[in-house]
């Protein structure tokens, strides 16, 4: 049997064995997101709840505003709920539409449309600039442990091994990024986007999952070595214009296109885009699938997704451990619509018991 510690050693060896990224490769359009024109979108979420008891629901609203790459717009809704309000998570500022239906409502439903603008982002990591320091409160917030992301013990131990010998924050963050890319893998069987129980992943040695697992692992590891980092929970809203089928929405129906990304704070650069989970998605899913790590598209993704990402993805919020207003329930993150009927939280990943749809449209007029 291979123990977790042996597996970690295997992973370290695998990092060393990976080929260096190549700048020239055969690809239709080079994967090179660059800040350019803004694109406007509307995402519309519709919920139809079972009429089996008093119901309430929470739908995430775009709450991340970063003038470099995302600008939330207005939200509009239609519902037969008796109470509708925009609620805000007090710790992280995650906004959600909270609707409460009257007891006995026969067809509880709500439809929410949110507008927003996106563009590509890319950091020139060779050009360190002068940016204001991260405020103390934000620095504390994005260094702290969460329910599922401890920053001590095995997490810190793993991060320190991954970043051994690296002096600067950018070198440490990149080394940990490479470690995550080399040691984790995307598991198609993982429900939804995963759970993000970082300590369990490391302790069992099962480093599989999807974005909420792999990028949470990255964020926790980076935080544990003193570099602020955060997950952004969101959804893909458009195909990739760089030809990555696996890194974009496949159609206007994006009900299952949720995706989370990660940012790290680097002095001299501010928040920097990263997405090691999407590298593993390209490995597994980019046609023809199960790609080798030296496949040009994998190499390009691995190189680009430390410092850049494409503006075809909406970030809802950066919140962890979100208490749902008016409920006893709490969720690890708010990326999916949530609903409660007769006091029981519905399974947001079970289409048989919780029916909702999400559509995305680019607004060009």
């Amino acid at each position: 049997m291979i123990s977790r510690r042996d597996m970690l050693k295997t992973g370290a060896a695998a990092v060393a064995a990976l080929p260096a990224p190549r700048l020239a490769f055969a690809q239709d359009v080079p994967f090179a997101p660059k800040p350019g024109a803004w694109r406007n979108f509307a995402v519309t979420t519709r919920l139809e709840l079972p009429a089996t008891g008093k119901a309430q629901a929470w739908i995430p609203l775009p709450s991340v505003r970063e003038d470099e790459w995302i600008k939330p717009g207005r939200n509009a809704w239609q519902t037969n709920a008796v109470s509708v309000e925009v609620a805000r998570d007090p710790k992280y500022g995650a906004e959600m539409l909270h609707v409460i239906f009257k007891d006995g409502e026969t067809e509880p439903s709500v439809e929410v449309s949110s507008r927003f603008a996106l563009r590509d982002r890319a950091e020139d990591l060779a050009a360190k600039g002068s940016v204001p320091a991260l405020g103390d409160a934000e620095r504390k917030l994005y260094l702290e442990a969460t329910e599922l992301m401890p920053t001590d013990g095995i997490v810190k131990e793993t991060a320190e091994k991954a970043a051994a010998g690296k002096g600067s924050d950018i070198d440490k963050a990149r080394a940990i990024y490479e470690w995550v890319v080399a040691n984790t893998f995307r598991d198609a069987k993982t429900r939804g986007c995963g759970t993000g129980d970082v300590a369990s992943m490391l302790r069992t040695g099962n480093l599989s999952g999807k974005c909420a697992d792999l990028n949470a692992l990255y964020v926790a590891l980076v935080r544990s070595v003193g570099i602020p980092a955060r997950d952004i929970y969101g959804i893909r809203v458009a195909p990739s214009k760089f030809g990555y089928k696996s890194l974009g929405a496949g159609s206007e129906i994006v009900t299952k296109a949720q995706h989370c990304r990660a940012e790290i704070w680097l002095e001299g650069y501010a928040w920097v885009a990263t997405d090691p989970a999407d590298v593993r998605k390209v490995v597994l899913e980019e046609p023809p699938g199960n790609n080798a790590v030296d496949t040009p598209k994998v190499v390009a993704a691995r190189q680009v997704l430390f410092g850049a990402w494409e503006g075809n993805w909406l970030g809802y919020n950066v919140a962890h451990d979100v208490a749902l207003p008016g409920s006893k329930h709490k969720v690890g993150f708010l990326m999916y619509p949530q609903a409660e009927v007769a006091g029981a939280l519905l399974d947001c990943l079970d289409p048989d018991t919780f029916k909702y749809s999400i559509r995305s449209a680019e607004i060009t007029a």
């Binding site: 369990s200 302790r203 599989s208 399974d347």
Partner: protein, 178 residues
């Protein structure tokens, strides 16, 4: 590299590690007052007189799924310990679907807010505790086990027989003994 590493990870997760069932020393058990999935509440006191396995798990945890089958196989053996499986932080609807496909013969407790996980100092899933017949701490593991393996059976067989004057189960630090 990825397929080989994936295989290694799966093998590592699924294999029995009987030697990881280690002594667990302590005077008091943490509290375990939790709702039960589709059943009447059950507390540790009701299980006094048999060894008890308290198993923390979640349905998203791949090693937990295989281990759950092994716990259920143990549960139907003669003189099996009592088993309480504590689900951490999942909605009941998800558990009903999961156990609808994989029924088990022991209670599923609901640690909705992870309070029990914290009280028992569980750092990752799966984690299991074994209490002796007096409900005293005996063994623990932070690895997925094959609970039907001879090595685990041997470890469970080392639990002491029931004493004449059982102690009370748990209270939180600083709480007045009952």
């Amino acid at each position: 590299m990825a397929p080989l590493l994936a295989l290694a990870l799966l093998c590592g997760a699924a294999s029995a590690r009987a030697d990881s069932l280690k002594p667990w020393a302590g005077d008091w058990l943490p509290p375990l007052a939790l709702d039960r999935l589709d059943g009447p509440p059950i507390g540790l006191d009701a299980l006094r007189g048999r060894p008890v396995i308290v198993h923390f798990f979640a349905t998203w945890c791949a090693p937990c799924i295989e281990e759950m089958a092994s716990l259920n196989a143990l549960a139907v053996t003669p003189a099996a310990p009592a088993i309480l499986a504590v689900d951490v932080g999942e909605v009941e609807a998800r558990l009903r679907n999961f156990f609808g496909d994989r029924p088990v013969s022991f209670p599923i407790l609901l640690d909705r807010d992870r309070a029990a996980m914290k009280a028992w100092k569980v750092e990752g899933l799966p984690t299991s505790f074994v209490l002796d017949r007096e409900l005293k701490p005996a063994l623990r593991t932070e690895e997925p086990l094959d609970w039907t393996s001879p090595a685990v059976a041997a470890a469970l067989a080392t639990l002491p027989p029931q004493a004449a004057s059982p102690i009370q189960p748990t209270r939180e630090k600083g709480e007045t003994p009952r």
